[in-house]
Symmetry: C2
Subunit: 176 residues, 2 copies
Amino acid sequence: MDRRQKRTRRAIFDAFCSLLERKRYDHITVQDIIDEADVGRTTFYSHFETKDLLLDALCEELFCHIFEHDSCPFSGNDNDLEGKLSHILWHIRDSKKDIGVLISDSSDLFMGYFKRHLRAIFELHIDSFHINVPKDFLLNHLVGSFSDTVRWWMREGMKTPPERVAGYFMQMTEKH
Amino acid sequence: MDRRQKRTRRAIFDAFCSLLERKRYDHITVQDIIDEADVGRTTFYSHFETKDLLLDALCEELFCHIFEHDSCPFSGNDNDLEGKLSHILWHIRDSKKDIGVLISDSSDLFMGYFKRHLRAIFELHIDSFHINVPKDFLLNHLVGSFSDTVRWWMREGMKTPPERVAGYFMQMTEKH
DNA sequence: TTCGTTAAAGAACATTTTGTTCTGTAATTA
DNA sequence: TAATTACAGAACAAAATGTTCTTTAACGAA
């Protein structure tokens, strides 16, 4: 990839995140982004067809980091759901600004991505829950409540240690 | 209130809901709304300052119906959380289109209102949960998971009876 | 019914945003 | 060094925004 392309892409991502700290997603215009990133209008459109696709690309980039299972103190065995959740929380806390900005944004666009990835994880562990409710209800409940837990945790400034948050969450759901 | 005002307000609300069935909230323009409602541009702006405030007003109107506690087969005693949740689900199913459209919209603006009201209800019952997690964590978890349950239920076409959904939900959270 | 009030339509407007097309420049890679 | 390609900048038509004005007609109260 051309160095210039990488540089421009980075500038646009940074500008976008910076704007998200101050403005709601749907109030940010392409004009805002190119002003903040200081790139030409044509340059923006040659990289991203629309603002929504810019968000897509940014989410894609950030999620590689959150959901990869290497180089993490909690990447224990595959049956350790609590460990996996801790892992996710660790990564979110590490990649300070960017992800926080997206998660706390009131428009729910980012959460869709987050939930999609979460669903895949919970699906692997769904059989360890012994409770008499439909599987799809349970799965939805787990994904929804965990993503809201993350949101709560970030709003509170991520003061509670990741492992403890994961612990709270498991207490709410397991061993009925 | 002037009959003309009521008529116009209704037309704008209807147009807005109708558009939300087809388009995402942040892709809907004021122009779309006035075209669909067939009202003048000045008329729109004399009623609502911005598109966001139109959403505010609509949410306000819809929530009067959902969260009022009269005339409902499930309005049992005040300690009956499951009954209250059933109540809410009944009202959502009754007011067919409008609320469904708002809840299923991918932008999370409506959900903010919904959660705020839900929080008030769960707060009244928070002491009946005997579990060793912080109160604010628990409250957030309940509000988040129930609102996602509603969303799931609507996505599935509200086939499951309200009482059963409320039952599933209580199973997930009570009697640890 | 009459009459003062007021909501709404419509036109016109400046401004901003959008998305595209062009040309010239300069950074990059081979 | 030479060919390539990303970018800036300008210019553009189209759409959306938000405001101001005038005219029409529906309204509620007497």
